[in-house]
């Protein structure tokens, strides 16, 4: 029983850490309708940014905000230079563009800053949190709490004046223009916000596995999270993350030793497939996707 509880809790927390990656994806999709398959690479860039500021001797509490400012600007620049020109293009073009961006970033950033894994220490302790016979991973615990706070903050943000504009933009581009909202600016800001979310993800994942290009591979579980939760739903990120994390921990926890291979990617793939077959718009997504 303790085993099950441990798998459950650690899985849930890991899932929330996937949500951090997924949050950036959803923020962009919600406002711009762009599936950003480079979000994993953006997380990698953010991890490198945190490492860079730390290596310049800045303390953690300064490095992370500095990285957030950097990544906000980075998001703005990417949107302005690349994605704005793709408005109106078919989705496959946008998907391929973000994949091209991923290749570019994966070459550029490790190329300049070094490809051997970098270590970052954001001051999360090492010892597990022990409750009875249940060991909880401290990094995941911090990550899970931060993820919940960040999602909460983004929900609150969408209630501010600027957030309301973003919601209007996500509802309808044309009507937003009509009432005087700058759609371009709103989309740019959402890219910037995705950059900020990526900093949190990059710092937490980077502190547990080191910063190198493999951070960009977090995209795959994050995709499962957004598909399950709904590509344009922020609360969906939390729920999707919890489900993907828990199933991806509990099922391999019991099955792996029987199968003799790691079943986590299978579980993740099946979550994507089943969601798409049964409820393509996800748990909280808007039901307006074109059905056939």
């Amino acid at each position: 029983m303790a085993y099950f509880v441990e798998l459950l809790i650690n899985g849930a927390l890991t899932g929330l850490m996937y949500s951090l990656v997924a949050l950036g994806f959803v923020l962009i999709y919600k406002s711009a309708g762009v599936p950003n398959l480079a979000q994993g690479a953006v997380v990698m860039v953010a991890g490198y940014a945190v490492w860079l500021f730390l290596s310049w001797g800045l303390p953690v509490w300064l490095s992370i905000p500095a990285a957030m400012v950097t990544m906000f600007l980075f998001g703005l620049v990417v949107e302005r230079l690349l994605l704005r020109r793709m408005v109106g293009q078919p989705v496959i073009m946008v998907v391929m563009l973000t994949l091209g961006l991923e290749i570019l970033l994966r070459g550029l950033v490790p190329g300049i800053l070094g490809s051997a894994p970098k270590s970052i220490d954001v001051g999360i302790g090492f010892a597990p949190v022990i409750i009875g016979d249940v060991f909880i991973n401290r990094t995941s615990l911090v990550g899970g709490i931060v993820a919940l706070l960040l999602v909460g903050a983004s929900l609150l943000f969408f209630r501010t004046r600027l957030g309301t504009k973003l919601r209007a933009v996500s509802d309808d581009h044309i009507s937003s223009w009509a009432v005087g909202i700058s759609v371009e600016r709103a989309i740019g800001i959402s890219w910037g916000l995705a950059g900020i979310a990526a900093v949190v993800a990059g710092a937490l994942w980077g502190s547990s596995q080191g910063v190198d290009w493999t951070l960009s591979m977090l995209l795959f579980p994050a995709i499962a999270v957004v598909i399950l939760g709904g590509v344009d739903s922020i609360p969906g990120v939390v729920v999707g993350g919890l489900v993907v994390g828990i199933l991806g921990s509990v099922i391999p926890g019991y099955l792996d030793s029987i199968v003799g291979g790691s079943t986590r990617d299978v579980v993740t793939s099946l979550i994507i497939l089943l969601t798409i077959m049964v409820r393509p718009f996800g748990i909280f997504g808007r039901e307006d996707i074109e059905r056939i």
Binding site: L105, I272, E290
Partner: protein, 357 residues
């Protein structure tokens, strides 16, 4: 100039329905084909084995994919998995004693059946969701290949292709492997050019343009989409088998990973969706650009032109390659085929460039 139109009158339907209506185009195709057939005598084994041969095979694969993506409008981010199915089935069939010619066909059929299951998702969703669904299937197939030792070939997950002969021709020398691959690419090309003119091809295009409208005019979206996945997977499966037997000759799961799927999609898009010449150009670009960039930059570095660290030097081709993909999508979304077409059109009316072609 070359593409002189004057004097070519299509006085009957027969003449107007030719694949290449303009004599210059016909000559061009014939010349290129003749050069391709004679390639083993014209280029050194280095170029044949490391550039021309993979280019031909990947072009065949890109053509198979563009049938699905360009013609039927169904996105597929798991095509490498389809090719893997073809490659692995062909090797296991040949090992089980099936003649190579039949094994090729059978491996295509196996890939087609499994590939049509991939297509099941397409019956419900499209666009981004189809991308994600096929992506998930790519991971599933990868997992099965890696985790079933019987398929992947045991501890080292490497399967060597047995020695085979095709129609009494021994497929072991580089030239014979190249000719087999070329024959397959030519076959797919002719098929693709002609399928556009069949009712099947037209219904694929109808589905791509608007599936509701297609259904209204009596094209069954369900059947057509499934057939699109089936046909394209068949071609992809055989291309995978050809890739295994003619090029790699030792199959490992990494040869058919997720990044290969991305490369295939990039080939189709950079080349130009749905275009034959585009598939060849796109495959050449995606396959050869990183190689040429690597060699170019290494050459420049050796002569002291790029004074940067080895680490950055080895990442530079990746950066340029990514930038080039982005550049194509931004500045020429219709791909290399469109650039080729522009050049052709320019010469068609040269030197009177304001005339309409």
């Amino acid at each position: 100039m070359f593409y002189r139109l004057s004097g070519t009158f299509h006085t009957n339907y027969q003449a107007d329905r030719k694949l290449w209506k303009i004599p210059a185009d016909r000559w061009l195709v014939l010349t290129v084909f003749a050069l391709a057939v004679l390639a083993p005598f014209l280029v050194s084994p280095l170029y044949l084995g490391s550039y021309v041969l993979p280019w031909i095979i990947w072009s065949a694969a890109a053509l198979s994919l563009t049938l699905l993506m360009g013609m039927a409008g169904q996105l597929h981010f798991g095509f490498a998995a389809v090719m893997a199915i073809g490659a692995y089935s062909s090797i296991h069939l040949v090992r089980a004693g099936v003649p190579f010619e039949i094994a090729l066909l059978l491996s295509g059929i196996i890939a087609a059946v499994i590939g049509a299951v991939f297509g099941a998702a397409a019956l419900r969703v499209k666009g981004l969701y189809l991308v994600m669904a096929t992506l998930a299937m790519q991971y599933l197939v990868d997992w099965v290949v890696v985790n079933v030792p019987w398929i992947s070939g045991g501890a080292h997950a490497t399967l060597r292709t047995p020695a085979v002969s095709f129609l009494f021709m021994d497929i072991s020398s580089l030239a014979s492997r190249y000719w087999l691959a070329l024959a397959w690419a030519a076959l797919i090309t002719v098929f693709y050019l002609n399928v556009k003119r069949t009712s099947f091809g037209r219904s694929l295009v109808a589905i791509r343009d608007k599936d509701f409208a297609a259904a209204v005019i009596g094209v069954d979206p369900f059947k057509t989409k499934l057939m699109a996945f089936f046909t394209s997977s068949f071609l992809g499966g055989v291309s995978g088998a050809i890739l295994a037997f003619c090029y790699y000759r030792a199959v490992t799961p990494e040869q058919f990973g997720f990044n290969v799927s991305i490369q295939l999609v990039a080939m189709v898009l950079v080349g130009g969706l749905g275009s034959v010449i585009g598939s060849y150009l796109g495959a050449g670009f995606v396959l050869l650009a990183p190689i040429f960039l690597t060699n170019l930059i290494a050459g420049l570095a050796a002569s002291g032109w790029v004074p940067v660290s080895q680490n950055f030097l080895s990442h530079l081709p990746l950066v340029i390659y990514g930038a080039m993909i982005i550049g194509f999508l931004l500045f020429e979304p219709l791909g290399l085929a469109k650039i080729y077409d522009n050049i052709r059109k320019y010469f068609l009316v040269w030197p009177f460039r304001h005339a309409r072609s």
